[in-house]
């Protein structure tokens, strides 16, 4: 018979005693002024073999990932937190404590940095057809070629049309870059730190529009108002021109807790 041991699942490390009411088998371990929020999980579920099987079950992943997020958010409401990646597991409380001992100073430095700050996410999506329509009527070069096509022979207009399509593609890419770069730079100025993350393809986003910017910002609480005013300004400028700007938060600072060893984040 396979023994079903229990493992220790770590959600986050906090700088104050977290308010947890024991739901979801949560408990906290205090070590040198840091509080680790963890729960016991079954090895059958979270052990190496079990987890591999479970990760293929989308409903399971959905439930457990959402739970992971909810637990950290609850802790976050009362204290600063360092969120850990999904399924960070230890064999025993003692091995978790040993990790706290090893990384204690770094965790404390990160938590000091996070005081009074929030993580906000900004994703920009683009509908290329809508964007093309929005600029095709005011790009002088495109209008010029269109005009030439009207007065050209069949043969010549074929090449002109090709040239026009190339110009449209080029302008499309320029406009996408402009929107992404401008939005990122302007919001970065209002942030303590900023990150650009990998774009997610349409199979993942399940949207018709392409993601053109996936970014995260660590914003001081006093600047959050200005940050949102800037998001609104960008929305006013870009939405309606084929872009959709999606701002979410405040999130646990998943993107801003990198350890100096370079192993803190999976980028």
């Amino acid at each position: 018979m396979v023994e079903n041991r229990q493992l220790v699942y770590l959600y986050c490390v906090a700088d104050k005693e977290p308010k947890i009411n024991g739901g979801n088998n949560l408990y906290s371990i205090c070590h040198n002024g840091l509080y680790a929020v963890a729960s016991r999980v079954e090895q059958l579920e979270f052990g190496e073999d079990g987890l591999k099987k479970k990760m293929a079950d989308f409903e399971w992943v959905k439930t457990k990932a959402s739970l992971h997020e909810r637990i950290i958010e609850r802790v976050m409401s009362g204290t600063n937190v360092i969120p850990f990646k999904f399924a960070t597991l230890f064999n025993t409380d003692n091995s978790l404590k040993a990790m706290l001992e090893q990384y204690g100073q770094e965790f404390k430095a990160i938590l000091r940095k996070l005081v009074n700050k929030q993580e906000w996410g900004l994703k920009i999506y683009c509908n290329p057809e809508k964007l093309k329509t929005s600029f095709s009527n005011d790009e002088a070069e495109i209008l010029k070629i269109e005009n030439e096509i009207k007065f050209s022979s069949v043969g010549k207009s074929y090449f002109l049309k090709k040239k026009k399509d190339e110009l449209i593609e080029k302008t499309l890419n320029e406009r996408i870059n402009e929107c992404g770069q401008e939005s990122f730079e302007l919001l970065k100025e209002l942030s303590f730190e900023a990150h650009i993350n990998r774009l997610l393809p349409r199979e993942v986003t399940e949207r018709e529009d392409e993601m053109v910017l996936n970014s995260a910002f660590l914003v001081h609480k006093d600047e959050v108002g200005d940050f949102h005013n800037m998001v609104d300004t960008l929305k006013m400028h870009y939405e309606g021109k084929g872009f959709l700007i999606d701002c979410t938060g405040p999130w646990p600072p998943y993107n801003f807790c990198g350890l100096s060893s370079g192993k803190g984040q999976n980028e």
């Binding site: 987890l51 360092i82 992404g180 993350n197 997610l200 993942v204 949102h228």
Partner: protein
């Protein structure tokens, strides 16, 4: 501060997975599951994160200048 947006209750699953599965602190040490394993399963889930090639294909050209420092 009266403009602060309260987090929508309907933050999509995508937003959660994009962070919980991909970000957050990764500690190597006494762990039962190595990070690489989880990443492989993650790929198996079709939650494929796009590669640099995809980004370039999408944009025609990658961002230049300060945009690159975060990658």
């Amino acid at each position: 501060m009266n403009n602060v947006i309260v987090k929508s209750k309907e933050v999509t699953l995508l937003e959660i997975l994009d962070r919980v599965l991909d970000k957050g602190v990764v500690i190597s040490g006494d762990m039962v599951i190595s990070v690489a394993d989880v990443d492989l399963i993650y790929l198996g889930l079709k939650v494929l994160l796009s590669s640099v090639e995809t980004i370039e294909k999408l944009r025609g050209s990658p961002f230049v200048g300060p945009m690159q420092e975060a990658r």
